[in-house]
């Protein structure tokens, strides 16, 4: 298994996500409900293969594989998918699998198609500190939650659009209800903020230990994302930021958060013993 390069596993995983997306698209074009079982099988297969690929990459970099933009995109897709595999069967939100397959296929293929994002591997990126590795993994997992939140937000907007414009057929006929989408979005927002708060708290311990090694840009960007999501959650709970304004906020925040990962990654100061390896 280890003789196959990690990127090959990730290419195959991306193909499975794409297959799920194609399955859903074909079903929707034919105005049929896609097979939930097949969608789950495709996504699970993609997830397992991606786990193997990221596992191999983790071995290579001696830590959590979130050391460059390629890995950050891959890990975000992996987090969103793992969450979908847990909550998908519980909430049975129709089309969530389809949208998840679309998101994961996009993130994984884009990351694979931009070689520059994977040109540098940092080994021992976290300086052997399990806390900072835990912090990074938690933070990235919260991004996965926010990715899923962005998906349910898009689904909410589509459902409201269909109801207001009287376009009820095709893809719109399979969307979950407005109230269900609002509820799941609120739960995801709460879960994402909780995870990110925990990540920030763990990161603070590391920062307090050795603040010279944590660049100010990274702290500022991470805190800005955390504050933005926390304020969004508070405003939602107080009934101030609701419905379409809330969903647009969640979508825009995720896009901003996703691209802020690049800033966080580039601002990273490598620990003294962390060698970098250029990829051919």
């Amino acid at each position: 298994m280890s003789s196959i390069p990690d990127r090959t596993w990730l290419w195959i995983a991306a193909t499975f996500y794409l297959a799920g997306f194609v399955l859903g698209t074909v079903a929707l074009l034919r105005e049929r409900r896609h097979s939930r079982a097949w969608m789950y099988i495709f996504i699970t297969a993609g997830f397992v293969l991606q786990t193997i690929g990221l596992g191999l990459r983790g071995k290579a970099v001696h830590g959590c594989p979130i050391t460059n933009t390629f890995e950050l995109f891959q890990f975000t897709a992996w987090s969103a998918t793992s969450l979908y595999l847990v909550i998908g069967p519980t909430f049975r939100l129709s089309l969530l699998g389809y949208f998840n397959a679309c998101l994961s296929a996009t993130l994984t293929f884009v990351s694979l198609l931009v070689p520059a994002w994977d040109s540098i591997h940092r080994t021992n990126n976290f300086g052997g500190s399990p806390w900072i590795e835990f912090h990074a993994a938690l933070a990235l997992f919260s991004y996965g939650v926010f990715a899923l939140l962005a998906l349910t937000s898009i689904m909410y907007l589509l459902q409201v659009f269909s109801l207001q414009r009287r376009h009820l057929r095709g893809v719109f006929s399979f969307l979950p209800s407005v109230v269900d989408l609002d509820l799941i979005s609120l739960r995801l927002l709460g879960a994402g903020v909780t995870l990110m708060t925990a990540a920030i708290a763990v990161g603070y311990v590391y920062f307090a230990e050795d603040h010279a090694r944590v660049p100010l840009t990274k702290i500022a960007v991470a805190l800005a994302v955390w504050v933005a999501y926390t304020v969004t959650l508070i405003l939602r709970l107080r009934g101030i930021l609701i419905t379409k304004r809330l969903t647009w906020t969640c979508i825009v925040l995720f896009v901003v958060a996703l691209f802020s990962l690049g800033l966080i990654g580039s601002a990273r100061k490598s620990p003294p013993a962390a060698p970098t390896v250029s990829q051919p």
């Binding site: 269909s162 057929r169 109230v179």
Partner: protein, 363 residues
Amino acid sequence: MSEQSSPTLFTLGASHHTTPIELREKLALTADKMNAFCEQLKQLRGLREYAVLNTCNRIEFYGLADATETVEQLQHEFCAFQGFSDAEFRSIRLHALNRDAIQHLLEVSSGLNSQMLGETEILGQVKDAYAAAQTRHSVGPVLNRVFQKTFQYAKHVRTHTAITEGQISVANVAVDLATKIFGELAHARILLLGAGEIGDKTAKAFQSRGARSLTVASRRLERAQELATTLGAAALPFEQWAARLSDFDIVVCSTAAPQTMVKLADTRAAMKKRPARPLFFIDLALPRDVDQTAAKEENVFLYNLDDLAKIAEENLAARTTEVKRAREILTEKANLLWAQISAKTRLESTPAPSAPACDQQAR
């Protein structure tokens, strides 16, 4: 055994396609009459197996007879029993034999033959007819297989075509829209503003889909209380509805008021108290009860009678386009089932009697 005297699978009856309601009323069998006639059929020689499908839109006999003459005799006895002219029955009757009889049963059970294309209630009625025949011991190996396969194939058609998709009545379209907004309706609070017939129908459609909390408000409190009692709902004094609007998720308006009942200010006041929870107006009144500008408010959804009727028409058109595909599937299944049954029981394909022009073709 000659061709005419071969055991024959048959369908005989009359349905809404050719029989107006006045005649269907005369042909329908009440429970008592059904029992009496079935007793009488025990004496009919050559009738091996039978089941009777008796609904508001059709009375149909499905059976296995020793010969086609037995089917004619059954028709004669039925007409005599109901005091109906044999000749008149012949002019409106549905008569299909062997493979065509199976095809007809499949199409009936799948809703292809129904007045409301694709409706699903008919399958339950066919199941009831079969259960009653089992209780009477009037079905045997042939009809058992035919009915059991019919239920399987009807389900197959529903799953593999869009023949039952989308509601085609205004009340059910409204309920479908409500599920798109609220999901499960068990916890949705519904206000009926006006206690007319269309409001009543819509309320019943909501109840059939799990709605439990209904409140009726009408200018005439006694009418509101009467409808509330019928529906197992609560009654609300009419002058209180505006103040209580925020308590409800779905408002079904069907008053006869000549002016707008629900003004924009009422909607805004209600939404101020429940900004995160959607409010769905179903305006079935003419002239309309709800100020149309309410639809522009955040989290407010408003559908009027025209909107609902248009959706119902679109759904019906979509179902109609599926008929051909559904019929193709059923034809294949009917051929298969007929081949199995005829091989097992040595039933022979028997041509339909002459003068088919007056017989309703199995659709």
